[in-house]
């Protein structure tokens, strides 16, 4: 990395560290100052005043997996759209056609998902 790179990203890293320190201080401050008098009822996980039934970390709907999965695949598309937008003027018509083909193929997948009900949260 050259000097300008250091000047571009060094402050970012410092900022990250300062923010982390700040967050850490805030978190530990409440631990230090805030009083604690735990008892069994207080430490119970919230379930509307009832004793929790079963374990909270239970298997959950697979819909959430589907959403994350579709997200990954379209995120990849977005990642290619960005460099494309960067050099779009230079690529010209060629780049346009290229990306249209790319998007078209992905749209096929998108409409397939739509048709199959993967995008319907509640059927």
């Amino acid at each position: 990395m050259n000097d300008s790179g250091l000047h571009a990203y060094g402050p970012l890293v410092i900022h990250l560290l300062v923010a982390a320190t700040l967050a850490g201080i805030i978190a530990s401050l409440s631990k230090l100052i805030g009083w604690r008098r735990p008892n069994k009822a207080k430490q119970q996980a919230y379930e509307c005043g009832m004793e929790p039934t079963g374990d909270a970390r239970e298997p959950f709907s697979v819909k959430f997996y589907l959403v994350a999965m579709i997200f990954i695949l379209f995120d990849v598309e977005a990642i290619f759209l960005y460099p494309w937008a960067l050099v779009f003027r230079r690529l010209g018509m060629y780049g346009f056609v290229e990306m249209m083909i790319y998007i078209a193929i992905l749209l096929v997948g998108y409409f397939y998902l739509w048709k199959k009900g993967a995008l319907d949260w509640h059927k």
Binding site: M69, I72, V76, I79
Partner: protein, 100 residues
């Protein structure tokens, strides 16, 4: 400036740790994660070489690796979910049969 070898050694260490995790971990998800770790180690080597030679092909390749990793994660985790549904376990020892 950091010598390229440093990056390569780091890459090798990460790859090795990934391989160790791959062999030693029992949980399929963790095993899958160790594969991702190995891919990452390889990516690091790609980028290091690309910077060493001053050519960006390596970085383009990294992009493709990431895309492949994404597709792989999507399908692989789908399979893992199915395994869990069918065997009620994520332990690799219990999922070593080809049929149910």
């Amino acid at each position: 400036m950091v010598p390229t070898q440093y990056y390569l050694v780091l890459s090798a260490i990460l790859f090795g740790l990934g391989a160790v995790a791959f062999v030693f971990k029992r949980n399929i998800i963790t095993i899958f994660m160790s594969i991702e770790l190995m891919l990452n180690a390889v990516n690091l080597a790609f980028v290091a070489f690309s910077q060493a030679f001053g050519k960006v092909e390596g970085q383009v390749f990294v992009l493709f690796v990431i895309v492949v990793a994404a597709a792989e994660a999507a399908v692989g985790l789908g399979i893992i979910i199915l395994i869990q549904r069918n065997r009620q376990s994520l332990n690799i020892e219990k999922v070593n049969l080809l049929k149910l």
